[in-house]
Every structure is written in C-alpha cells, then in structure tokens.
Symmetry: C2
Subunit: 211 residues, 2 copies
C-alpha cells in the first residue's frame, strides 16, 4: 500500500471481528516495523505487551471502561514506557562508532538523571512514534486499529505485571473491521494550528485537505 493511502485511510475503528486472529508472523511484521521508529539517542525506551489471550483481553476490557473493541480485536497492544531506558545503553549503541558511543554515554545520564518529567516525555514520544507505525502497518495488512488512553493505568499494570518504571502509556487495538469509522468529526483550519516563522503569523489559510 502507498504511504499516503495508509495515512488517509487510517481511522479509529471500534468494531472488530472477534473471530479474527493474527499469526505469529503477522505480529512480528507489526513489531518489526514499530521498532524502526526513531527514539532519542536510539534509546528504544519502550516495551510492547502483545495481548492475544482472551482472558487477559477481557480483563483489559474491564479496566478500559468496558470498551468492547479491547476484547473483540485480534491483538491488544499495550505500549509501556521504559522510563529507565537511558541507564544502560550498551545494547542500543553496540554498533555505533567509538566517538558516538563516548559522546552519548557522556550526555545521556546528564540529561535524564533526576529528570522524571523528561523521562516520561521521552517515553510518551517514543511509544507514540512506534504506535503510529503499528497503526499504519496494520492498514497495509488490510486491518484497522484504535489508539486509546481510556484505561485505568494502575489496573492495566496489575493485570500485565508491569513494573513501576514501565507505565502503560498507550493501548492500540488491531483487528479486522466489521464496520468502518464514522466520517471525520472536524479538522481544524490552518489558522487554528499552524503559524509561519512566529506564533500567530497565519501566512497559510484554509482547512487541511482530508480527502
């Protein structure tokens, strides 16, 4: 599938065929491309929990205000941040040239130590980049997805056994759509959310093209 078609046709779908399953190969295909998303310093500060077990999906559904797609999708991906991913970067930098290794090993602890807000921002950023890949690649596979934050993070952590430094930051359900998404609810205009060279300088006008 062409990139632009994937972007244009990706919509949040909430009605999935509960009998549809993904093979291990298909799950690996999704993960392989998710893991090519960029992260600061190549930190890869993420953890993907692939939930295919119906009982676990049922529990996640109960922890997500009973949204049915959480248990009816083929796979429920829970994307957790690895908040301490910066502490040991030896695997992430194992193929880097020595000068890059030295620079990164010097800079990274200075930036992240004692900076829990940056740790969290960085985790949200990384898992969102990866999540966007998951959703687009699902489209390419003829599947649909729904990104969601409507869950009780403490309950999800308990259900999945996530450690404290791996908060669940995003859930993405993926499956075979039974029903297409509704029409878009309303895109903002350029004037609402685009500036040129300085905030408030609206040199571009009109509504974004959602065709």
């Amino acid at each position: 599938m062409q990139l632009l078609e994937a972007i244009r046709t990706r919509r949040a779908v909430k009605n999935f065929d509960p009998s549809h399953q993904l093979s291990e190969q298909e799950i690996r295909h999704l993960l392989d491309h998710a893991m090519l998303a960029p992260t600061s310093f190549n930190m890869q500060n993420w953890h993907f929990v692939v939930v295919t077990d119906q009982d676990v999906q049922d529990q996640l559904c109960a922890a997500s205000w009973n949204q049915p797609h959480v248990k009816e999708c083929s796979v429920t991906f829970v994307l957790a941040g690895a908040l301490k991913g910066w502490e040991d970067m030896s695997k992430q930098l194992r193929k880097a040239p020595a000068d890059v290794q030295n620079m990164f090993f010097g800079m990274v602890p200075q930036l992240y130590a004692n900076n829990p807000q940056l740790e969290r921002d960085e985790a949200v950023r990384s898992i969102s980049f990866a999540g966007q890949h998951l959703m687009l690649v699902a489209r390419e596979m003829g599947l649909d997805s729904c990104p969601m934050i409507g869950f009780d993070a403490a309950k999800v952590s308990t259900i999945l056994g996530l450690p404290d430094d791996h908060p669940p930051l995003l859930m993405i359900t993926i499956g075979k759509a039974l029903q297409q998404a509704r029409p878009r609810m309303g895109l903002l205009n350029y004037e609402d959310c685009v500036s040129v060279n300085r905030f408030g300088n609206h040199a571009l006008h009109g509504e974004a093209d959602d065709s």
Copy 2:
C-alpha cells in the same frame, strides 16, 4: 512510495543542502498529512510552527546547541503542544453527531481539568503521532528529516513567541540530504522489549528485522 519502504528508509539525517527550499504547496502537503494523525477525542491539541526564515532558523540553531541541521534544512518544524486544546472543542466536533458531541463535551472536561500531567502527556502523544507522519511523508517526497528534542525550550518559546500553554515539545528538520545516515546503531531484541500476554513472558525471540 510504499508505506513499508518509507518506514524502512526513514533515518535521522543531519546533513542537508542549505540551498534547497520547499514550496508553499510542498509545505501544505506535509501539514495536510500531519493533521490526519489521531488525537484523543479528535482534540488536535497541537500547533505547528513552520520556520523557513533564515534568521529565525539561525536563532533556533543557537538555541539547539548549534546543531547545524537546524539552520541548513529546508524547513524547521517546531511542534508545540496546545495544552488547553480540550477547553473548547466546538470546531473539532462540529461535524460529529449530536450524541457523540454530548458525550465528548461531558467527558473531556472531567478528564483534563486540573490534570496538568495528562494535558502534557496528551500533547506529547498528539504531536508525536503527527511528527511521525511528517517524517514519513518527507521520505515520500524524496526528502529526509531529523526529529530532535535537543533544544532549550524556554529560548525556543521566546524566539517564536509561543504562549506558556504552547510548549515546544519536538523539533523536526526536513530537507534534501547531502549525506545519508550512518548504519543503525543497534536494535534491541524482542526479549528486551516485547512480552506476550504478561510482562516478562518472552514468547517471541530474536532481533527485529531491520532490513
């Protein structure tokens, strides 16, 4: 360009042709697709500052530890969060059915009011989804990109006149590459960052396919 090729060939590039420029049409093409990224409740809690002016790029470069690609790229995108995007959703929901409008108008303030951490998480998530679209679409246009957080947020806000509720959360430089990215520095294995059904259950093995 095929989606999978865009994902596989997108790398952080830091050497751009300083003489290369983007037309307004090309900039709109990038923005149009960035703005199709998903956001919670269709909030679109983002603001894109498109920096093409060389003087402003030079100032941003100085506020980014003098990383040359910030001033040598064709366009420097500064993605700011719109932290209060939830307060007035009338434009975002203008085409939604009445029952959806009622539900969202009821739920959104309950979730976001007095929850600054959620406001920030949500902004980082939204701008990261949109940023990933920008980077992939740049690839499709024969361009390259570099996502970065290595800047002084306070200085960037001053340079661009960003209000306090619009923090800069991500910068993406886009341009014509003069030099390709180095080989990947090291992908984590599945065992490092993937679990199946429960954290620590490593039913999938091996390194992600980075070919």
